[in-house]
Symmetry: C2
Subunit: 201 residues, 2 copies
């Protein structure tokens, strides 16, 4: 069944397992286009340029802002830039592919203003705040102070949930990925999106 | 993930394969409650009372109308009554089960007024009008005149589609049933319905 393509924005508090879940969604929905963010921050050892992020210099990023080559962008605490390159997204939509992207609340709100009903928003929730605490503690890569800060940030991020259309609880990676797939499939069947091949008679 | 239960109304023009598809949905979603309509018409040879319809006398049906025991009802061309018993539906919803029902546009509109956002509507479409004609002709149980009348009625019924939230094209029974299942799963994840077990902290 053909449909008018749309944007899928996914947000989550740290520790909800967004990256793992999105990797699973990629496998389940190979027809989706995954928007890759641009950033000025340095790549981490396991990150691949063009896959995890498009890593650019500060000068390049500011040029992209100026030339309006970004759908949304933000300068985060610490001074680094993050943003969504416009061209690949519009090209994918024009070719009939749905586009999925991983954004924070600010980016989601910006895109919602631009895309309106051509966009859906999904918030990935941890099974409980206790579980979120457990997951964040389990990382063991942070000091007690950092963990405390991450937890308090996660709490603020959880409050964003109210602004999203769908809530997916990430009790397991597989289940969360399947849930996201169901949402995308259902949205493709919204009356406004279906291109129905009814032959006139 | 727990959710606030809701009503699922499915309509289709004759020949779209609604009954077969709904039987498949029953297998895929055993947790749904299937509302059985009451009618005054006589059972067909293969129909089971209480499963396909609740078969009642005209007196009984008119008593049900008077006692407001029906969520919606109509008297169709030919004089027979059809309606949805209220009690089983409300009981199922109260116990947390989603309720699925097979209605025409008139019944759907009545229930939408009563249930508002606690209801979703799905229209099952034949792959094309040509295919619908082929399916209706294939029945071979009708005269040329009857077939012509059914086709013209199907055309009127197809025009209802615009009043429904979701369109499912029934290219195959399995695919249509899976599509309906995805819609139900997605609707359970709508923010307004999710009962999120976030422990306060």
């Amino acid at each position: 069944m053909r449909h008018r393509p749309f944007l899928i924005v996914i947000s989550a508090p740290s520790g909800a397992g967004k990256t793992t879940v999105l990797n699973e969604v990629k496998k389940l929905c190979p027809d989706l286009f995954y928007s890759v963010s641009a950033t000025t921050r340095s790549p981490r050892p396991n990150e691949i340029d063009g896959v995890d992020y498009i890593f650019v210099s500060r000068e390049k990023f500011e040029e992209m802002i100026e030339k309006e080559e970004l759908l949304e962008w933000a300068r985060v605490f610490g001074g680094e830039y993050y943003g969504t390159p416009k061209k690949p997204v519009l090209k994918a939509l024009e070719s009939g592919r749905d586009v999925i992207m991983d954004l924070d609340i600010q980016g989601k709100e910006t895109l919602e203003e631009k895309f309106g009903k051509e966009m859906i928003s999904i918030f990935l929730l941890p099974p409980s705040f206790e579980e979120l605490r457990r997951r964040l503690s389990g990382r063991n890569t942070e000091s007690e102070e950092e963990l405390k800060e991450r937890l308090s940030r996660a709490k603020v991020e959880l409050a964003w949930a109210d602004k999203y259309q769908y809530w997916v609880v990430s009790s397991s990676v597989d289940e969360a990925a399947r849930s996201i797939t169901s949402i995308i499939e259902a949205e493709r069947m919204k009356k406004e999106r279906v291109i129905y091949p009814l032959d006139s008679d």
